[in-house]
Amino acid sequence: MTSTTLTAGDISAARRGSPAGRILLILGAYLAFALFLLLPLLVVLSEALKLGLGTFFSALLEADAISALKLTLLAVGISVPLNLVFGVAAAWCVSKYEFRGKSILVTLIDLPFSVSPVIAGLIYVLLFGAQGFFGEVLEKYDIQIIFALPGIVLATIFVTVPFVARELIPLMQEQGSQEEEAARLLGASGWQMFWHVTLPNIKWGLIYGVVLCTARAMGEFGAVSVVSGHIRGYTNTLPLHVEILYNEYNHVAAFSVASLLLGLALIILLLKQWSESRINRLRHTAEEE
């Protein structure tokens, strides 16, 4: 309630400011948006379609592109559910229990935001590569992690770990644990409590976190680039495939594949917008209480 009235107050305060200044600010925002976001998007699309739809689709339907798309979807399909489980578990720990080292855990969850993805990839190479820490053991049992799917998935997970937990922790802290306690008192088991009380309460926040996580997982370049080995048709994800095509001066194909990523991103953006509006509605009703 208070924050809604506050924002309303802020808006009216801004309206009372000089109209020229306001128009200038809005124009500036639109200009920056057009220059830095819209223009590049248009360039991608126009470059992709420069030689017509035929070339565009043939670039997308080429075997290497298809395998890159498959690999990307597979990596996303493995890493996002794992992050979902981890994120919910971590958010639960942090918001419902008091324990030693809690602030360290919260800081560690944020680590992937501050570490460069390339470094993250390197860590895995140093751990699991042929000359790495576990290299000998892995070789003995013939397990391939680096330059293979497991490495790509690991790198993707590392980079996207914070998204679900980060979204859920404030939401769950705000909600407190009284509804869970009430459920327990009414005889619900741990699982019943989670399924009937906790999950419905965090549903939209969770979807939002998963959407962000998916977007990041799909577009991840740096960390995956280090561990993938760029084997065409085997360990190339979509962003890596774009890079290879571009380096081969095959601009049209590069931009075609890029526009595929762009399309996926737009779908995710819509999902994000939708889940965000649901969260805001929830927050709103929570504040009215």
């Binding site: 009284q178 509804e179 306690e181 009430a182 459920a183 327990r184 008192l185 009414l186 005889g187 619900a188 088991s189 019943q192 009937h196 009380v197 419905p200 309460n201 009703t285 929570a286 009215e288 209480e289």
Partner: protein, 320 residues
């Protein structure tokens, strides 16, 4: 069902929330845990419910030690201060929750659940709200739904944490009387936590006055009011005047006073600082020479007061 609390202690890090609490609650009794915030009353209630584990001591329900028993197996009804209704469920689903969570075999049929929920909603006089969501209800309505939800699983003990704390004064009074009436009908062993002495006085059979993690006094409302066991209880249960006399000080309540226009008879003198009508009574605030603390008198309106005005000289004597 009776509740026996023996030697219960609880610490939160360095803070001693409860220190060796012993308390016996009779079957069917309505007991108030009364004390200022931070006195440990809510912690004690949560320990009885099983939401907190005591560091030491035992909780016994009707001869059966439940200290190590999980919350969900204690069969207590609990009403939270802010109700903790499930926000994404309708009123009906909230009340039905406890019945639906029962393991298969004990779970009543949907038709039976439907009947029981409507019966409970009828009891709290809110049957017409069954399809609403908690956010669409007023505070008093939420409170009663929370109570219906707690009673749905037919608990043997009912625990209420500041049940009227978040309501405005008028609704609070109504609900208070309603709860006392309900208790007379259902006769469920009930414990409620409050910081409001008036509320404890009006609703409870017995009052447990707590301060800083220990029990100061246990007794009926009139016992604790008339024979307070300590200075703390005396001050907490009502307004008190402190008057300095030669040997020490005298404590008396605002209504325990005799006023006069005439000096003599060992009366103390005071200057009228404020006059406030309080319905049947009038509160007169007096400044007394030789002490900073003011003396308040609550007396029946009579001839003496008819033409009294601020700055007048009055003479008073405590009647204890």
């Amino acid at each position: 069902m009776s509740i026996e609390i023996s030697n219960v202690s609880k610490r939160f890090n360095a803070f001693k929330a409860l220190d060796q609490i012993n308390l016996h609650i009779n079957s069917g009794e309505l007991v108030a845990l009364l004390g200022p915030s931070g006195c440990g009353k809510t912690t004690l209630l949560r320990i009885i419910a099983g939401l907190e584990t005591p560091d030491s001591g035992n909780i016994v329900f009707h001869g059966e030690d439940v200290s190590r028993r999980d919350v969900r197996d204690r069969n207590v009804g609990f009403v939270f201060q802010h109700y903790a209704l499930f926000r994404h469920m309708t009123v009906f689903d909230n009340v039905a929750f406890g019945l639906r969570m029962k393991p298969q075999g004990q779970r009543p049929s949907e038709a039976e659940i439907d009947r029981r929920v409507h019966e409970l909603l009828g009891m709290v006089q809110l049957d017409w709200l069954a399809d609403r969501y908690p956010e669409q209800l007023s505070g008093g309505q939420r409170q009663r739904i929370a109570l219906a939800r707690a009673l749905a699983v037919q608990p043997k003990v009912l625990l209420l944490d500041e049940p009227f704390g978040a309501l405005d004064a008028k609704v609070r009074k109504e609900l208070r009387r309603w709860l006392a009436r309900l208790h007379d009908e259902v006769h469920l062993t009930s414990v409620f936590v409050t910081h409001d002495q008036e509320e404890a006085m009006e609703v409870a059979d017995r009052i447990v006055v707590m301060n800083k993690g220990v029990i100061e006094q246990i007794g009926s409302p009139s016992e604790v009011y008339e024979n307070p066991a300590s200075d703390f209880v005396y001050h907490f249960l009502g307004d008190a005047n402190r008057l300095r006399v030669d040997e020490g000080e005298v404590l008396f309540r605002p209504h325990e006073i005799a006023l006069s226009r005439e000096a003599g008879g060992g009366r103390h003198s005071g200057r009228v600082r404020d006059i406030r009508p309080l319905g049947a009574l009038v509160r007169i605030t007096l400044e007394v020479e030789g002490q900073d603390e003011l003396v308040e008198a609550e007396v029946v309106r009579d001839q003496l007061l008819a033409d009294l005005s601020r700055g007048d000289q009055l003479y008073f004597s405590p009647r204890c």
